[in-house]
C-alpha cells in the first residue's frame, strides 16, 4: 500500500510544477475575490475551457508521439460547419450528425496529417501548417463567410444545458478525460505512442507499427477537434466561418505546461488537464479582479517558459548519468541505420 502510494507520487513528478501553480493561483484568487470560489464561477471556468480541454487531450497524444498539430483549430471550425450543414439541411438526425462530425474530424486528421507525417515522413510543421491553411479556406468557401444558426435543441443543449446541476460540457470533459487516461496507460495503443515518440527506429525494430500509430494519433487529434467543434457550435448557437487559429497553439501551451515534452516519448493527459485548468483559472480570475483579460496571455507565456526551463533542469539532473566519460574513451564508429543522419553540419567546426 505504502509502495503503491509512493509510486503514484513519483509518477506525478513531471506535472508537479503545474499542480503547484494551479493550487497557488486558485488560493490567490479565492482570497482576493470571494466571488471566485462559488460553485457557479467554477462551473463557468470549466465550461469556458471545455473546447480547449478536448483539443488539448488529442494534442497530448500528438506531442507524446513526437509530433505537433497546428491544424486543430481549422479542423474544429470545419467540423462545426459540417455539423451545421447536416442539421440545418435536415440531412441527419442531430444525434447521428454529432457522431458523424467526430468521425469526419478523425478522417480529416488521419488523412490530411497522419498520412503525410506517418507514411511520407514529411515535416510535421509543414504538413499541419498546410492542412490548417487549406482547411481554413474550405471553411470560408463552404460557409460563404456566413454563420449557420443552429436551432436543434440537442446541439444547443450540448453547449449550455445543466444536468443534475452541472453544465453539459463538464460531463463531456470528464468522459473524454477518462477515455484518454485509459488509452494512455491501459492499452497497447497508448504504449505504442510512447514508444514511437521515444525512439521511432527502436520502436519499429521491436515490431511496433510506427506508421499506423502516427496515422492513428493524428486521427485521434482530428476527432478531438471535431468534438470541440460540436461543443463550440452548441455554446455559440451557430457554426461560424471564423477559424480560431490560436486554438491549436493554446492547446500546445497547455500540454507543455502539463510537463509533456516537445521531444516526444513522455507526458501525461493528467498534466494537460492541469495545464488547461491553469489557463481557465487565470482567464477567469483576472476578469474578476478587473485586470484586462489580455494580461492572461502575458502571464501564460511567462509561466510556460519558466515551467519548461524548470523541467529541463530537472531532466538534466536525472539524465546526466547516461553519458559518462568512458563513452568518450572508446570512440566507436557508428553507422546510421537506413536513413542518413539529418544533423546539420555545425558552423564552428569550419570556422577558420
Amino acid at each position: 500500500m505504502k509502495q503503491a502510494l509512493s509510486n503514484a507520487w513519483s509518477s506525478t513528478r513531471p506535472f508537479r510544477p503545474v499542480l503547484a501553480v494551479v493550487i497557488i493561483l486558485f488560493a490567490l484568487f479565492a482570497v482576493w475575490q470571494p466571488g471566485f470560489r462559488t460553485g457557479l464561477n467554477i462551473q463557468n471556468i470549466l465550461g469556458s475551457v471545455s473546447v480547449l480541454f478536448v483539443v488539448s487531450m488529442g494534442m497530448t497524444f500528438v506531442l507524446i508521439s513526437g509530433g505537433f498539430d497546428l491544424s486543430a483549430g481549422a479542423i474544429a471550425a470545419l467540423c462545426g460547419v459540417f455539423l451545421g450543414k447536416m442539421i440545418e439541411g435536415n440531412i441527419m438526425p442531430a444525434a447521428v450528425a454529432v457522431v458523424l462530425t467526430v468521425l469526419f474530424g478523425a478522417v480529416l486528421g488521419g488523412a490530411a496529417n497522419g498520412l503525410f507525417v506517418g507514411v511520407f515522413r514529411l515535416s510535421v510543421f509543414v504538413v499541419t501548417l498546410a492542412s490548417m491553411t487549406a482547411l481554413t479556406g474550405v471553411v470560408l468557401i463552404w460557409t460563404q463567410t456566413m454563420s449557420i444558426y443552429i436551432t436543434s435543441p440537442l446541439i444547443l443543449n450540448i453547449g449550455v444545458a445543466h444536468i443534475a446541476g452541472l453544465q453539459a460540457p463538464i460531463y463531456i470533459m470528464v468522459a473524454v478525460f477518462a477515455i484518454f487516461l485509459i488509452a494512455q496507460s491501459r492499452t497497447y495503443f497508448g504504449r505504442d505512442i510512447f514508444a514511437t515518440g521515444g525512439s521511432y527506429t527502436a520502436a519499429r525494430l521491436s515490431g511496433v507499427r510506427t506508421e499506423r500509430t502516427i496515422i492513428m494519433v493524428y486521427a485521434v487529434s482530428g476527432a478531438c477537434a471535431g468534438l470541440a467543434g460540436v461543443i463550440a457550435v452548441g455554446r455559440v448557437g451557430a457554426a461560424t466561418p471564423q477559424v480560431d487559429a490560436g486554438l491549436a497553439l493554446q492547446a500546445v501551451a497547455a500540454v507543455l505546461l502539463g510537463g509533456t515534452l516537445l521531444t516526444g516519448g513522455s507526458g501525461s493527459v493528467v498534466g494537460t488537464a492541469l495545464g488547461v485548468l491553469f489557463i481557465g483559472i487565470l482567464q477567469n480570475g483576472l476578469n474578476l479582479v478587473g485586470v484586462e483579460s489580455s494580461w492572461q496571455y502575458v502571464v501564460t507565456g511567462i509561466i510556460l517558459l519558466i515551467s519548461v526551463m524548470g523541467s529541463r533542469a530537472g531532466g538534466r539532473r536525472r539524465g546526466s548519468k547516461s553519458s559518462t566519460a568512458s563513452d568518450c574513451a572508446v570512440p566507436t564508429p557508428s553507422v546510421a541505420l537506413g536513413t542518413p543522419s539529418l544533423g546539420a553540419p555545425s558552423e564552428d567546426t569550419n570556422a577558420g
Binding site: Y188, R204, V208, S326, A329, P331, P333, G352
Partner: protein, 537 residues
Amino acid sequence: MRGASQGGAPGRATRYRAEMMLDAPQSVPVTPLLSMTGLHKWFGGVHALCNARMVLEKPGVVHALMGQNGSGKSTILNVLSGQLKPDEGTIALDGQQVTFHSPPAALAHGISMVSQETALAEELSVAENVLLGRRLVRGRFGIDWGATRDRARAVLEQVGVDYDPSCPVRALRPDQKQMVEIARALSTNVRILVLDEPTSSLNEEETRSLFAVIRRLKERGVSVIYVSHRLPEIFEIADEMTVLRDGVTVAEGPKERFTARSLVEAMVGAEKEVVDRRVGTTDAETATVLEIRGLTARGALENVDLDVREGEILGLAGLVGSGRRELLEVIYGLRHFEAGTITQSGQAVQREGPRAAIKRGIGFVPADRKTEGVILPMPVRDNLTMPATYDRQRLRNPRSRKIEDAAAAISKLLSIKADLRAPVATLSGGNQQKVVLGKWLIRTPKLLLLDEPTRGVDVAAKAEIHRHLRDIAAQGITMLVSSSEYDELYQICDRILVLFRGRVVAALPREEATESRLAALAGGASEHEIRATRKAE
C-alpha cells in the same frame, strides 16, 4: 609494393620499443616537422593515452597511424586538431612548442583534419564549401560570386578535380565530397592533413583517385597523417607508421620495417590467454536454421553464402563498411537485396520488414543501443515486453499479470539491476544492453542477430553478457554475432566469417580463429599472404 620482409620480421611487439629508440630525435640531425611526445589523457578513470608519441620527421611524407578500436587513435588526432587538451605531454612544430586551445588554433598552424563523416554544408555550393570560414571576395555589390568561383576552381585544380563550383554539395558522391574537404584544407595553406579512414566509404576506383591526390599533396610538401584499418592500402600509400595499442605507442618507423604480420601483431599484442572460451561443439547433425546463397545488395554485399545450424554461434568479422552490419539488416528485412536467396528453416524469405522477421522468430540487437536498441524514456518493463506483444490487439491492456511476470523473469535471468518501472535512461550501459538482449528472450526466438553486442559496456558487464550468450546458445537458439572486437568473436563463436568489401573472404572454425589472424583478414590481407610470411620465418 607490399612491405618486404627484411630477413624475418621481429615476432614480438616488445622489440619495436628498441626500434623506436633508434628514431628518437637526438639521432636525427634535423628538427622534426611535428613531434608529439609524452602524451597522457584521462577520461574519468580511463587512461586513453599513456605516454603516447607520434613524430613526423619531415614535410611531404604519408604517415600511417595504426591501432585497433579504442587504442587511442582518435584521441591523439583530437589532441592534434585542437579538439581535446592533453593532460600531459608536448606538441612541437618545427621544434617550437605549441598548444592548441581550439580547432581554429590548430588550423592556423596548418593542421587540418578530414574526419570520417564529412563536415560540409550540404545546401551550399562547392565554391562556398571550399572557401568556408574564409572571407569571400567582395565586389561593389556585396559578394563577387564570379571571383569567388574562380578562386575555388583554382583550389580544386590543385587537388586535380574539376567540379562545377556552383554545384550544391549535396549532389556530390561521398568520394567527391571528400575531395571538396581536402580542397578546403588546401585553401587554408595546410601543412599537415589528417585523413581519418578516408576510404571506408569509397570503392576501388575512388580509392585510386584519392591516392593520386595524396601523392600530389606529397609533392607539394604537405604531410599526410593517414588512418585506416586496411592493410594493403597502408603498405601502398604510407612512408612511415606509428602503431598505438591501449594508448601506448608500441611501434614506429619507416614502412620497410613492417610486414603485414608484424604490423598486425604490434596492433593486437601478445595473443591473450583464452580463459572464457565457449566449449561444446555444435553437432553437425542439427538442422540448418538459415541458408543464404549468392546474396548481393548494391553497395554493401556481393555474392555472400552462409549457413548456420541450430544452436550455433556464427561470428561476423570485418571493418566498418565490410558489409557485416548490412548482412544482418538484410536478414532482418530492413534492407533490399538485388540477387540471391535467403532460406530460413526451409522457407524462402523476402524483404518484409521487422514485423515479419519477428513472426519468423528472429530477434535483432542493433549496434546503436540508445537510438535503435532501447526507448530511453520508457520503463524497463515496457521495453522488455515490446517485441513479445507485437501482435496483440491494440486496445488490450499491456499491464496483464502474465506479461509482467515474463518481464520480471527475464530481468531476473539476466540479472538486470533496475526497478522495472524505472525509465531505461536511468540504467547503466551494461544493464541497458541486457534489456535489448532480454526483450527477445520472452518469446524464445529461433535466430538472434546481434550487432556489436557489448559496445560501450564495462568489462564486467561484457563478461556477463558473453556468459548469457553462451547459455542462450546452449538452449538451441542460433546466433549471428557481428563485432569489431576480435577477442569477443573468438571467445563466443563456434565459427567466424570474415568480410571484406562486401565479400566473405574467410570462414574460420573456432580453433583457427586467432585475434591477429582475424585482424589481418579483416584488413584485406589474403590467406595466401599470411601463410607466406609465416613460412618465411
